[in-house]
Symmetry: C2
């Protein structure tokens, strides 16, 4: 990261977000800035409550309502994607310009693993064009057990 060129830094999610927010007429409030920092650094989709805890822990606490409000704005501007992962819990993840992906959710430990698959995208794309229905976005979530939980379960089965 340290070795980034100016151009690379310019094209970061963080900067694109700031640009688009300004263009949409938003001011740069404290909560918004902190949120952008966090989202830019995040590696995987988070819930609002996780975000809240994380910010409180790093003593840059932000009111819950503000988190919801900012995430909502960011979603409208297509800077953040909201992912529903069962049990009525929503997770938020920044949208990387060229990194469309879906998620595997482990029903044992809850971990989310991103994945991409061209055949899947092709199938959806073909569907989208021939459906009468006009598809603007899609969500694919696979549920099961992650490699770790599988290994753990296997080990246990083997030892009994």
């Amino acid at each position: 990261m340290e070795g980034m060129t100016a151009t690379e830094r310019r094209s970061s999610w963080r900067d694109r977000a700031e640009e688009r927010l300004t263009a949409a007429g938003y001011r740069r409030g404290g909560a918004r800035t902190v949120l952008l920092d966090l989202l830019d650094a995040q590696r995987c989709a988070r819930t609002v409550l996780e975000i809240e805890d994380e910010l409180r822990a790093s003593d840059r606490a932000v009111g819950r309502a503000s988190i919801y409000r900012v995430l909502d704005e960011l979603e409208q501007l297509h800077l953040v994607q909201r992912i529903e992962v069962g049990q009525g819990i929503a997770r938020y993840e920044r949208i990387a310009p060229d990194h469309h992906h879906h998620h595997l959710v482990c029903q044992n430990c809850g971990v989310m693993v991103p994945f991409t698959d061209d055949a899947l995208e092709d199938a959806i794309h073909r569907l989208s064009t021939g459906a009468g229905f006009e598809v603007t976005s899609h969500d694919v979530v696979l549920y099961g057990r992650c490699a770790d939980c599988r290994a753990a379960a296997d080990a246990e089965a083997g030892s009994t």
Copy 2:
């Protein structure tokens, strides 16, 4: 329905459900029976609140808690599928034995249209087997505009 043979009736969702519930050690309570009737007759996925209203309207009211409990049991037994459709609202739909499908959700009018696609299933199946992750189920939701809303929008665009 009246002209059904014994075999056809035997293979109905309703009867399979009852069988499986009994096998799992459940008794036949009033709420459960009413719920089974409703689910068996339903044409599309419903929310719990919709179910509650519907039952109250048909003067066979069932407590909300019971609806949740029964749907939960039915989901465990794979007799009912829970579908998350954004905004943290869950919909429930009975599982037809040979009719696995996904949903298109119209972001304009909210209608849900079921669809099936072999290429999509193939892609997911291939993913499932080669992932390290053990996939037990999957959810695909396509968002967009249904044919009706599209037509309406086009008509409006044409007239202006």
